[in-house]
């Protein structure tokens, strides 16, 4: 029941907004629909916590503690982003960067995107998962190109082609998976694509096929995760799209893509053993972390900067999943959570910052504390959090990841050390002058809504100092599932 609502509400919302998206109350409607989704999905979460995993709709939908926590996270960030986008898009409209018609597209696509992601999370069918991912891609392509500027078109085009090709690889991987499953499960009632069934028989699946399948799936979904060297679409898309979209892209979409990869990893591990997928993930992770850090060093555009930082963090998370084991998986899940909370809040503040300064070029943004302390402190605290300074939660996960790596794969720690150090120097040396110093920019036409920012940061802070036992238990369960 909840599941139906969770999936239905966003679709309904997108339809409604496709009709009334241009109206005055569209933004509020958007927020309201997201709120509804949030409520329903939290009901779902509660239910799963109480009764454990559930399998519904002819086994087409499957909820366990791994994806339900992502569902909750997605719905929550979706809601806060909707809250943020209300004043933000107003200001954009006021600045004449978007027309009401575009706003209609924006709102409806926003809901569609949320729907697609939730579907990708909830479905039990690997094929459906693929379809949902593709749908998410398509909807975000339109969102990225919202401004219809040369740059945004270029970004959208690259995004489309790269992710399209990637997703095609994923499809081939899925086909191979199906092919392998057929050998054992047969094709009665097309159960051969259901993750639960595959998971049940993963021991008997043909390792050679699954090895190949994993390669294609990894390249495919990895493109959407933004793993180097498949990451090239990510900074452009983050920089050129409207800020709320950047927020959900790096806050949610990357997580969902990574979720897909991990689901596949679980299956593959069952048949080919740990080392192959583990090493692939670790290599990708380290490469992304280091490359991302060095890219950070040379950024001038604020949103691009944080786009690359997303690459770096996705790398760290992937690395952690590659390490495997209860501690590392726990850390990775925690890092997914805090990263999406922190990063989205950073994008909120970054968006308002560039609006106040009238440019996304960081040289043009100065003295935010002087203009609006909330924006200034938001950006400062957010960056500090994302850089893994305690007592923020990002540190908690990095603590676990680093210490685990130090014992299990000491060779990898120098790379992580370099990545973290360079990233710190790069981001902080850019953020400090933006927040501090003098400025003479005028205040914004509409008052920015920074409540979400501080809510997110407060949550991250809490996670760094105290984790509710329920949440911890939940993470542990998820970590166990991933194995």
């Amino acid at each position: 029941m909840e599941i139906l609502l969770v999936l239905g509400l966003p679709l309904l919302g997108s339809v409604l907004l496709a009709l009334f998206g241009a109206r005055r109350f569209a933004a509020e409607l958007n927020a309201a629909m997201s709120l509804a989704t949030l409520i329903v999905s939290s009901l779902l979460v509660l239910r799963v916590i109480r009764h454990g995993p559930m399998l519904v709709g002819h086994e087409q939908f499957f909820v366990d503690s791994f994806n339900v926590f992502l569902v909750g996270l997605t719905a929550f960030v979706g809601f806060t982003t909707a809250l943020f986008s209300r004043p933000y898009m107003r200001i954009e409209e006021h600045l004449g960067r978007v027309t009401p018609g575009r706003l209609r597209l924006y709102h409806s696509m926003y809901q569609l995107f949320m729907g697609a992601m939730l579907l990708a999370l909830l479905t039990n069918n690997m094929g459906l998962l693929w379809v949902a991912m593709e749908a998410a891609t398509l909807s975000t392509v339109l969102l990225v190109s919202l401004y219809r500027t040369r740059a945004s078109l270029e970004a959208a085009w690259k995004y489309f082609i790269l992710c399209g090709v990637g997703i095609a690889q994923a499809l081939f991987g899925t086909i191979l998976l199906y092919f392998a499953a057929e050998q054992t499960l047969g094709r009665e009632g097309m159960t051969a694509l259901l993750w639960t069934h595959l998971n049940a028989v993963k021991g008997q699946l043909e390792p050679r096929v699954l090895g190949l399948a994993f390669v294609f799936l990894l390249v495919g979904y990895g493109t959407k995760v933004g793993l180097a060297p498949l990451h090239n679409w990510l900074p452009d898309a983050h920089a050129e799209g409207p800020t709320p979209v950047s927020a959900v892209l790096s806050g949610l979409l990357l997580n969902v893509a990574l979720y897909a990869v991990i689901r596949c990893k679980v299956l593959v591990e069952g048949s080919v053993g740990r080392s192959l997928p583990g090493h692939m993930l670790m290599t990708f992770g380290l490469l992304s972390a280091v490359l991302g850090a060095f890219f950070l060093w040379r950024q001038r555009d604020i949103k691009r900067l944080f786009g690359y930082s997303s690459i770096e963090h996705m790398g760290i998370i992937t690395f952690a999943f590659g390490l495997g084991g209860p501690v590392a998986n726990f850390a990775a899940l925690l890092h997914m959570t805090v990263h999406s909370l922190t990063k989205s809040s950073i994008f909120f503040t970054a968006g308002h910052a560039s609006q106040t300064a009238g440019t996304q070029q960081m040289d043009g943004i100065r003295g935010l504390l002087g203009i609006s302390p909330t924006i200034g402190w938001g950006l400062m605290l957010g960056s500090i959090a994302i850089l893994g300074m305690p007592p923020f939660g990002v540190f908690a996960s990095e603590f676990l990841i680093l210490t685990t790596a130090m014992r299990e794969h000491p060779w990898s720690t120098p790379f992580l050390l370099i990545a973290l150090g360079v990233a710190f120097a790069a981001i902080f040396s850019r953020v400090q002058p933006m927040v501090f110093g003098e400025s003479d920019a005028p205040p914004l036409p509409h008052s920015p809504a920074l409540l979400p920012v501080f809510v997110h940061l407060a949550m991250v802070l809490t996670l760094g100092l105290y984790m509710p036992p329920a949440l911890a238990e939940w993470y542990r369960a998820a970590a166990r599932l991933i194995g």
Partner: protein, 665 residues
């Protein structure tokens, strides 16, 4: 009986609460004053508790808080070592907070409420660092400490140099923190327990132990300002408001010492003798380096910052000796060196904070930081001058004040190094003692320069004439610290007894605190001994007698006349010897250390000007190359993002092929 620990926790929380309470009145300076005073009170009670705990013998107390990571709740532990450092923090903190209550004015950079918040969080985090008993809580407190102090340093963030200093400070702190983290990662040794207890239990091979030790050395050395990791220190300390400089230099550096001791003497069981040699060498080098650079500074706060590097070096020398002795089984001497290090840490906390605070008062009174524009303040600020004199004499290592005690102890422990069973080493280390002596004497040189140029002589600027003395709160703070210097100097037994509890628990051996109440004889009564008390009484007595006799036999008539001008009546106060002049012999003798650029006026100049700029060779030698390297690498990597879609597709294609081949093989 755990309530010492409970009390301490409560006190720490009170600090945080005080900080938050300030937010009630964002700009009311009155409220902040009150809060700072309360903070001082809390610090004082922390000191008292810690002292009582040490006096009681220091049996460890443990507590687990329902916070932190799910599998890793916050553990806290109070044992002799942590109690000693808490004592340090409390005593010095009380003075600094009192001073701060009188110091901060509104309208200087950050709003007073935020300052108060950051200040008290800084204090609390230091206390937690010392109390922490698991890696996670330790790291959290450690980084919180760095962060809050960073914000305090950049409280006047409109000045670009201050921003630069803050950035340098934070990056060094963060990289250091990562090293410490990795060190913990080694220490937990496969048992996925991050509590210090588990680490004490873990058994490490010498290789891993060395890795842990070196990582810790990197991390804590960066925080303590050990050469060559010191570059942030002379930038950040002057940039901060004076009470903050005092806290950073007096207290924060000591937390690094604490961490070093905790890891190398408590958590690690394996210890190799060459660790000690390494620390010894690094420490002596830092000490000499700091002293030499301090001697040529012209900014009073930079001078003090470099002198901090020197003192940290002295402390590390002590630790190194302790490790050397301990690994050779000479426990008593190890205890002696250890004690010297601890006591010197305590002393440095006292006199360095005192001096930084004094510079704060001077800064407020004159708006001048450059030694070239000060002078003669003893006439306008008698209070500050007198109390600063105490600090100056202490830091110069002169009896009967406290600085001498620790240096004496350290030299005493050096005397036993020939008993070390390492050929060459036991012949080399005496030279180390010589280097130490040189450093100590250099410190005296530096401090004479410091005090003489600021407080003595003629005022070098007309504006100095209307400098006002510190207000009563500031005097109180300064006085408290000065009192501390005198008490420890005169009754070193107190410090020794506290340290004895520490060495007793960590080394199983400790120096004899005192033969009698009169004097200390750490190794054996009848051996080398020292009594600050009698020295003080003696000098005072003789001076008194001499004074009375002179007055009695001769007379006390005084005629005030003009200064003798050597027959050149046009002397002005600008013709006094300057700070640069005072540093000149050092520049001449240790020229190799510096990177100097100076333009000397030619005799024919109409308006001759003399400018000298002195730089740290290590900065250009180590740090700039690193930065350039990263930049180059980043540029090289940037090429990857070429902007051409087909290239990107090619990447994906090649990745795919590569992975497929990888799978095939």
């Amino acid at each position: 009986m755990v309530h010492d620990l409970r009390f301490l926790l409560i006190l720490v929380t009170i600090w945080v609460v005080l900080g938050l309470a300030g937010l009630l009145g964002l700009h009311s300076i009155r409220l902040e004053r009150l809060l700072f005073l309360l903070g001082a009170l809390v610090a004082f009670s922390v000191a008292v508790l810690a002292g009582m705990f040490l006096a009681a013998g220091g049996t460890a107390q443990v507590l687990v808080l329902p916070l932190g990571l799910p599998d890793l709740p916050f553990h806290i532990r109070l044992d002799a070592l942590s109690a000693f450092f808490l004592l340090l923090v409390g005593v010095a903190g009380a003075g600094i907070s009192t001073f701060a209550a009188g110091y901060f004015r509104s309208g200087e950079g950050t709003a007073p409420a935020l300052l108060g918040l950051q200040y008290h969080v800084f204090l609390a985090s230091m206390a937690v660092v010392i109390l922490a008993d698991d890696a996670y809580l330790f790291m959290v407190a450690w980084e919180t400490m760095a962060l809050s102090s960073y914000f305090l340093v950049t409280s006047q963030h409109r000045i670009p140099d201050i921003r630069r200093a803050g950035f340098l400070y934070l990056i060094m702190a963060h990289v250091g923190a990562i090293c410490i983290l990795l060190s913990f990662g080694v220490l937990q040794g496969g048992s996925w327990q991050f509590t210090f207890d588990a680490m004490r239990g873990a058994s490490l091979t010498p290789f891993w132990a060395t890795t842990a030790f070196l990582l810790a050395l990197l991390g804590f050395g960066a925080k303590a300002g050990l050469v060559p990791l010191h570059v942030w220190l002379p930038e950040a300390h002057p940039a901060a408001p004076s009470p903050v400089s005092a806290m950073m230099s007096g207290l924060m550096l000591k937390t690094a010492i604490y961490g070093m001791l905790r890891i190398s003497f408590d958590l690690l069981h394996v210890r190799l003798w060459w660790w000690g040699a390494l620390l010894l060498a690094l420490g002596l080098f830092s000490a000499l380096y700091g002293a030499i650079f301090a001697a040529v500074q012209t900014d009073m706060k930079r001078l003090l910052a470099y002198s901090s590097i020197e003192n940290i070096g002295v402390i590390f020398t002590g630790i190194g000796l302790a490790i050397l002795f301990e690994t050779s089984g000479l426990r008593l001497f190890a205890a002696l060196a250890f004690t010297a290090a601890l006591v010197h840490a305590l002393n440095h906390a006292l006199f360095k904070s005192l001096l930084f605070l004094a510079t704060g008062s001077v800064l407020h009174a004159t708006k001048q930081r450059s030694l070239g524009k000060l002078g003669g303040l003893i006439r306008h600020m008698p209070w500050v001058a007198t109390l600063a004199l105490v600090g100056t004499l202490s830091i110069a290592g002169l009896p009967p004040l406290n600085g001498f005690v620790s240096e004496w102890l350290l030299l005493q422990s050096f005397l036993f190094t020939p008993q070390l069973p390492h050929a060459f080493l036991n012949m080399l280390i005496p030279l180390g003692a010589a280097a130490l002596a040189l450093t100590v004497a250099l410190a005296a040189y530096v401090m004479v320069k410091f005090y003489g140029v600021i407080f003595l002589g003629q005022p070098r600027e007309a504006s100095l004439a209307n400098a006002r003395d510190a207000n009563w709160l500031e005097r109180l703070g300064l006085g408290w610290l000065a009192l501390g210097c005198i008490v420890i100097g005169v009754l070193p037994q107190l410090a020794l007894r506290s340290a004895a509890a520490v060495t007793g628990t960590l080394l199983g051996e400790s120096v004899r605190p005192s033969a009698t109440v009169w004097w200390i004889a750490p190794i054996a009564s009848g051996q080398a001994s020292y009594s600050g008390l009698i020295l003080l009484l003696g000098i005072v007595g003789v001076v008194g007698v001499a004074f009375v006799l002179v007055r009695f036999l001769a007379h006390g008539r005084v005629r005030r006349t003009a200064t003798w001008d050597c027959g050149y009546p046009w002397q002005t106060s600008r013709m006094q010897d300057t700070a640069e002049g005072f540093g000149q012999p050092i520049r001449h003798m240790f020229g190799g250390f510096f990177r100097m650029e100076r333009d000397l006026p030619s005799p024919t100049d109409r308006a001759p000007r003399y400018r000298i700029h002195i730089e740290d060779r290590l900065w250009r030698g180590i740090y700039l190359p690193i930065a350039r390297g990263v930049q180059r690498l980043a540029d090289a990597i940037g090429v990857v993002q070429s902007g051409r879609l087909s290239i990107y597709l090619l990447y994906s294609f090649l990745t795919l092929i590569a992975l497929l081949i990888f799978v095939l093989l």
